[in-house]
Symmetry: C2
Subunit: 451 residues, 2 copies
């Protein structure tokens, strides 16, 4: 009873990304200009993004074609495998069937290249020479560095200073592909200098790093900004994950009852769920979606659904999302990809529509789940992915209690080969769980813009 792999032939690969906006019962709230509080027009985004990505950001078309050049690069590691985790099922002694899609086979070791490649492609098409971005854990910065090398674009990565210091290997990885990596806050930008003046010892945050990257892109010629999650076009590109999974499950002759994913900015969760959610929105399926977020950054479970900035210097437009406030910085937990103060506005909107169950999990239980998974399935997950593993194992154990066999699917969005410090700390008993009280959350939310 070994684990089974489902592959696809290349001619079964998706030719278009799925845009869930086409199937929403109510449209997303508009993006607002921070000064006028009026809806912005697509062309207002032109200083930051190339025309095609802006078109995708606002598109209501159901399918958006994947360019041949992007498909050609996708094929280097896609289709990624879908596994039936029979050794894990046996280890848990559950009647549930567990499937996982594995995105760690990409050259960056995570799902992030799914959007880095098309973003670099569309920028190159538009004559852009340089991309700026931010990175926390480093998975996104690594992916954009690889995409930049493929399309001969300069890449500048503002890396949250605490990560820059604690993860020199991630930095070396990005530099290996030719990217320039800058510790944020830096003295290269007004936003960075302002933070350093107030807090010379600031260890940075994603909100600060975004401010720096956005500022440089807005001011410099032939320079644009690239974001690794949160935006509609990023979620769109990740739907290649769920579309492949649909075809692979058809091959397995199965269909999920429950889909579990981890949520940071929301892109990997959207990637695995949206193609299935479309069917549910059209009334075709009864299906449960579970978003697992870290208890130390409980955006969906404790945040407020309201307009906020994407960054700390308030350089971005205002977007309606679940947020802990743009100055919120989670402390001391080891899933750097899940530390953003907000959530993808598109995903937030869908949560408000009542389509998704949300849960917050403390990190210790997630690491334990990750090691259970590794010993059964052989793959050591990234700490971010451990949240999805934890959610899936809990659902499987619930099936064991009830004697009810369900089909559970989750997205294993990356491997943990770059995250061994976190595992070392966990195994040495050095990690602690963080949970925020209502008062702490209220305090974090006090900085929200007045609407």
């Amino acid at each position: 009873m070994d684990t089974i792999k489902y592959i696809l032939s290349e001619d079964q690969m998706p030719l278009a990304w799925y845009n869930i906006q086409a199937d929403l019962p109510t449209p997303m709230p508009p993006v607002l200009h921070p000064g006028t509080k009026k809806a912005i027009a697509p062309h207002d985004l032109e200083p930051l993004f190339p025309p095609e990505l802006i078109r995708q950001e606002v598109s209501q078309e159901r399918w958006i074609e994947i360019p041949d050049e992007v498909q050609s690069i996708y094929r280097q590691w896609r289709p990624t495998p879908l596994y039936r985790a029979r050794r894990l099922e046996k280890a848990l002694d559950t009647p549930a069937k567990i499937y996982y899609k594995y995105e760690g086979v990409s050259p960056a070791g995570s799902h992030k290249p799914n959007t880095a490649i098309p973003q670099a492609y569309y920028n190159k098409q538009a004559g852009v020479k340089r991309l700026t971005t931010e990175t926390g854990a480093g998975q996104w910065g690594s992916s954009l560095a690889i995409a930049g090398a493929f399309f001969d674009l300069e890449v500048v990565v503002y890396m949250v200073k605490v990560s820059y210091q604690q993860k020199p290997y991630r930095r070396a990885f990005m530099e290996g592909y030719g990217a320039r990596v800058v510790a944020s806050p830096s003295d290269e930008t007004e936003a960075g200098r302002a933070i350093l003046q107030m807090h010379p010892d600031s260890t940075g945050s994603l909100g600060i790093a975004i401010s720096e990257a956005v500022e440089v892109a807005a001011q410099c010629d032939r320079t644009k900004y690239a974001l690794g999650s949160v935006l509609n076009h990023v979620l769109l590109h990740q739907t290649v994950i769920g579309l492949e999974t649909l075809a692979q499950l058809e091959q397995a002759g199965d269909y999920p009852d429950i889909i579990v994913g981890c949520t940071g900015g929301g892109s990997n969760f959207a990637g695995i769920t949206f193609p299935f959610m479309g069917a549910k929105l059209r009334g075709e399926q009864q299906l449960k979606f579970v978003a697992i977020e870290p208890a130390a950054c409980p955006t969906l479970t404790k945040g407020k659904y309201t307009y906020d900035f994407g960054d700390i210097a308030h350089l971005t437009p205002l977007v309606k999302m679940h947020t802990l406030g743009n100055s919120f910085v989670p402390q001391g937990f080891h899933a750097g990809g899940l530390r953003y103060h907000g959530m993808a506005p598109l995903l937030s909107h869908i949560v408000e529509l009542g389509l998704i169950e949300t849960r917050a999990e403390p990190q210790l239980g997630c690491f334990a789940a990750g090691l259970t998974f590794a010993r059964a399935e052989g793959i050591l997950p990234a700490p971010e992915a451990n949240h999805a593993v934890k959610g899936a194992i809990d659902e499987a154990l619930r099936c064991k209690e009830s004697g009810n066999s369900k089909t559970i699917l989750f997205n294993l969005c990356g491997h943990g080969h770059f995250d061994m410090q976190a595992y070392m700390d966990y195994q040495a008993g050095l990690l602690r769980d963080t949970e925020y009280s209502a008062e702490e959350v209220a305090l974090a939310l006090a900085g929200l813009p007045v609407m």
Copy 2:
């Protein structure tokens, strides 16, 4: 003109390993008992290995069936992709065609699970409860840790002390799968204690770690020893690499003129080349094989072809191989998988038959080649694999000079995600090249056993 991937359906996967011994024009020299200097009998190996692995070690059958249970686990990441490196060809502006087989998609990130899985399987079948082994860079120890978790075997890894100290992440990785990792030399064995008494500050070597692992296996009940390279059965298991490649090249409608691999103990090189070499031995093909070894551990290019021990404490039988002497410890270079003092006796024998070109490469050029490869192909190679990349790039550049288009194949045996310290040191200009003079080699060889 993007890089192309060739995959195989699972029903095209090899059902048997290829044993090149069946096709050798002259048999390998015998393995000798160190006391009597007489050939040992297969049953003399029983304290260390289970019966089926001993049978494979001495088998002259051309094909050895891969058990269903092993095939089932192989299928989790196999068949591995074969790529036509068109972006690299373009970057080099070469008329050559370059193919690479990529083994980094395994859960350990290298080719080592190809033999760890069958070794664990046959030991489990024989009622073994515990496996001991050594590891240098950690790729082998990680692979055996995963295999142990799959087959519910205890795994004890004697890790060369300098690696244990410098690579805590590798250690944490093995421990994550439940293995016990011991810094070698340790005080747990007579061999370790003897070394520590003479050299209290010893930072260890593969030869020492092998002595410790062999001693424990020989003395303890239901405990056997597992080796990650060098032995015939290990090379045999790795032929799954070349067999898949043959089928993938058939799909591509191509055949190599040159096959390049890196050599440490010899197993990944044997894995990619032996299935092709069989055809050459039968006179069917004109094909060049190039073995690239590190200039800092020049076993094939500067070592002596003679009988030597596999370990420093002289607990192993005597095997005829290219060796730098069992007490040789290479210094200050960053491809831990290529630091063994000897070479697989089977591969050494084939080198002596004149079938393989050998070259030694200093590490700086290999790192440069690895980064050229990463920027073109997206995958950052392990420092070991960089030696193969360097060899392949040099062949391709030779084609550019001569205007001659050749088809070059190499084995990219692992990714470099665990080796970022080496890349950091390289990028910071901290690495140096080592080459040994004839005098230094003569000194190292002075410790060879008198025959």
